[in-house]
């Protein structure tokens, strides 16, 4: 499938991958020690708990917060809920509603372990089966309708209003979009709860809520039938509610999720223990739901220089791969990210860009790579911007990228207008069809700029990963190894939501997922 345009030194690639595996294993060991409020809220959601109390607080928060306050969360929310179900003879949802009215879970008498274990045995498989149902539904739909040809054309909608988003998404699908991402409103990632219900007010994006997921998935199901192509839906499994959103997305049949092991730490200043724990559980859910994740390496290049820092993108790809595999994701689910952010004024910038894109392509031949468009160097000159996007489209088709986030000519101006998206889709269609087989037509000179640049990056990535291994990933992040940003181990948001697991801790969803995903203890 992948054209071998470059000659890679497989030994070095293997070495880099081994280093990343070792780095990931070290992180993984620490992940196992902690749980987080969001992991526990996810468990609550998987028990079927949804809705808000009379103050508008989501019930998963209500139950988890009260247990946290009572100091009982190191046992895991599952125990407390199951215990309450037995004690009160109510469904978990009814229990949570009661909590909303004042009930305190920790004040209920402990029940017969056999009984609450039975409750877990009832609810846990039910939840996971529901997720698997959606997976089968997706697979059947993909099978029946197809998904468009790679590079898949991925566009964003971001009106702030889910119903307006639906209109924009449908129009995009009708004009060739294969994948629709609903961008989140500014700052949602820092909310330590997931808002409830359909929403119409957002700045620069639309709230990620389960109801909004459902509205959009249904609209896309309709338009999929109309256009004869299964249109995939994306949202953000990221921020302080990462695993909850994974659960919501799995249940509402989202198809892809932005989901990165380090993004929250670096770009949202979220505590690293929180993030590492959250990403692990969220990825297990994504893995089991058959969802493709999109990692966020493109973000490195919005502040750092794409030429100078190319190797950090690749290093992060390696780490995301290993942490992803550790969470049960398969290679076809690893939409590792990178971006076309080379300075347009750089002579031969296109060659350097192709070198990186092709290197990543060959190193991760089975991964559905996600290629991000020019953003940083886009200006108000929409005409030039459209050309920058054309070159990006070309780089993508030459190097055989999988998921192609379309650049918008108005990137520097506003979230896309309805026509912007259509213009971009037409740009991509033209360039990609016009140069469809160029990647299989050419080869690069052995001593050429592109090959040399590729070799340089691979060399640098090995060095870089060696240093990271030395420091430990947490140490490296603290030392500013990625995106020039230093994040101390003990700093960052959401740190008080990290709880050391008690000896009696249990999360039966995680345990069951491990089993179903075939992950050893």
């Amino acid at each position: 499938m992948v054209n071998e345009l470059l000659v890679l030194d497989q030994k070095k690639v293997d070495q880099a991958r081994d280093l990343a595996r070792a780095i990931a294993q070290n992180v993984q060991r620490e992940i196992e020690l902690n749980t987080t409020v969001s992991i526990e809220r996810t468990a609550a959601r998987l028990y079927g708990i949804d809705g808000v109390d009379r103050f508008g607080v989501p019930l998963p928060n209500v139950v988890v917060d009260q247990v946290l306050e009572a100091g009982g969360l190191d046992r895991g929310i599952s125990y407390w809920l199951a215990n309450a179900v037995v004690a009160l003879g109510k469904t978990p949802q009814a229990v949570a509603e009661a909590c909303g009215e004042g009930l305190n879970l920790c004040s209920l008498p402990p029940q017969d372990p056999e009984k609450w274990a039975a409750v877990e045995r009832e609810y846990v498989p039910k939840a996971l089966d529901a997720i698997f149902e959606q997976r089968k539904k997706r697979e059947a739909a993909k099978e029946r309708l197809g998904v468009g040809s790679e590079p898949l054309k991925y566009v964003i909608v971001a009106t702030g209003n889910i119903f307006a988003d639906v209109e924009q998404a449908k129009t995009a699908a009708r004009h060739g979009a294969d994948v629709i991402a609903v961008i989140r409103t500014t700052g949602q990632s820092l909310l330590d709860y997931v808002p409830y219900g359909t929403t119409t007010e957002g700045v620069g994006g639309t709230y990620a809520t389960q109801a909004n997921f459902k509205v959009m998935r249904q609209a896309l199901d309709e338009v999929s039938e109309e256009v004869g192509r299964y249109i995939q839906l994306v949202n953000y499994c990221s921020g302080l509610c990462m695993p909850e959103i994974a659960a919501m997305g799995a249940l509402e049949r989202l198809d892809m999720m932005l989901n990165d092991a380090m993004y929250g730490i670096l770009f949202r200043d979220i505590n690293m223990d929180r993030t590492f724990a959250d990403q692990y559980f969220s990825r297990m859910i994504n893995a089991y739901a058959g969802i493709i994740i999109n990692t966020g390496e493109d973000n490195y290049l919005t502040t750092a220089d794409a030429y100078e820092e190319a190797h950090t993108v690749l290093a992060s790809n390696f780490i995301n791969e290993q942490l992803g595999l550790a969470a049960g994701l398969e290679n076809w689910q690893l939409g590792l990210g990178h971006a076309f952010e080379m300075d347009p004024k750089l002579k031969n910038g296109f060659l350097y860009e192709v070198a990186v894109a092709q290197t990543i392509r060959q190193i991760f031949p089975q991964a559905p790579l996600k290629y991000m468009p020019p953003t940083k160097h886009m200006t108000g000159d929409i005409f030039m911007g459209h050309v920058q996007n054309a070159m990006f489209n070309l780089a993508s088709v030459i190097t055989g990228q999988s998921i192609h986030l379309l650049g918008m000519l108005t990137e520097a101006i506003h979230t896309p207008h309805v026509a912007d998206r259509v213009l971009s889709l037409e740009n991509a269609r033209y360039v990609m069809e016009n140069a469809r087989d160029l990647g299989s037509e050419i080869s690069f000179k052995r001593d050429g700029i592109i090959q040399k640049r590729s070799e340089e990056i691979v060399d640098r990535v090995v060095e870089f990963l060696q240093e990271i291994k030395q420091l430990g990933l947490q140490g490296a992040i603290s030392a500013g190894y990625f995106a020039d940003i230093k994040r101390p181990r003990l700093g960052g948001r959401g740190r008080d939501g990290v709880i050391k697991k008690g000896l009696d801790y249990s999360n039966p969803f995680l345990t069951e997922l491990k089993k179903r995903l075939g992950l050893g203890e």
Partner: protein, 245 residues
């Protein structure tokens, strides 16, 4: 889409947000005053919340790209209904219709008039080969066609129409610089009227900047713009001939 029944406004991201994109060059050097001049001009055009997103100095001139929300709306009720498109008849249906209803060929004469030498558009409609995968009029058994080609004076075209007893005259105008097309088209209608030919002929115009509204305003029976297929023209002519029976 709009508060008031038939008023519509541009739409970018949310219904009725009025978003438009504008670009132009002003004869002033780039800078704060130039940007303000661009904003004021946009204001006069009815834009509010104007964003000058690009300002490029062209040495004494400045090129601008801007976005804004236009206050104007269009009342759809004030736009005359036009037959949006002739019934989509097939090649065979068109020939059948003519044969049945007229019982004879429709005779058409076409030309690129004035100094216009752009024959591709007219050829696309008239010649065998056709356009967009559809045959041209010449291929229809029920059309008798004369394509006079390029740079034909209006008088020559009308003389030919008279000579062959044409039912319809097809004029193509592509060059629009200095409104060359308007002059040529107006002259043709005036001549046809002066020569008493007007009411016996279906006279239609086509070209990239021609449309139904413009053509009828200039006294033509119909106008055809970019992307016209020969079948649309054939269908129009057949049905119009039948209407005129």
């Amino acid at each position: 889409m709009a508060a008031n029944g038939n008023l519509i406004r541009p739409y970018g991201s949310t219904p009725g947000d009025g978003q438009v994109q504008v670009s132009f060059t002003l004869p002033i050097k780039a800078g704060a005053r130039a940007r303000e001049a661009a904003k004021q001009l946009a204001g006069k055009m009815g834009l509010s919340d104007v964003q000058v997103v690009h300002m490029k100095d062209l040495h004494g001139f400045t090129y601008f790209i801007l976005y804004g929300s236009v206050v104007h709306a269009v009342d759809l009720d004030r736009i005359p209904q036009v037959e949006e498109e002739e019934l989509a008849l097939s090649f065979d249906q068109i020939n059948g219709l003519i044969e049945q209803e007229l019982g004879r060929q429709i005779v058409v004469v076409g030309a690129c008039t004035g100094t216009d030498a752009h024959t591709v558009g007219l050829d696309a409609i008239m010649n065998m080969k056709g356009y967009g995968g559809e045959y041209g009029l010449e291929r229809y058994p029920m059309f008798d066609t004369y394509n006079l080609g390029s740079q034909v004076p209006n008088e020559v075209l009308l003389a030919k129409a008279r000579e062959v007893g044409a039912d319809a005259v097809l004029v193509s105008q592509v060059v629009t610089e200095r409104n060359a097309h308007l002059k040529n088209l107006t002259e043709l209608i005036e001549m046809a009227e002066a020569e008493g030919l007007r009411q016996d002929l279906i006279i239609i115009a086509g070209g990239p900047r021609i449309d139904q509204f413009l053509a009828t305003e200039l006294g033509f029976d119909a106008g055809f713009g970019p992307g016209t297929t020969p079948r649309q023209v054939a269908a129009y002519l057949a049905q119009e001939m039948v209407r005129r029976l």
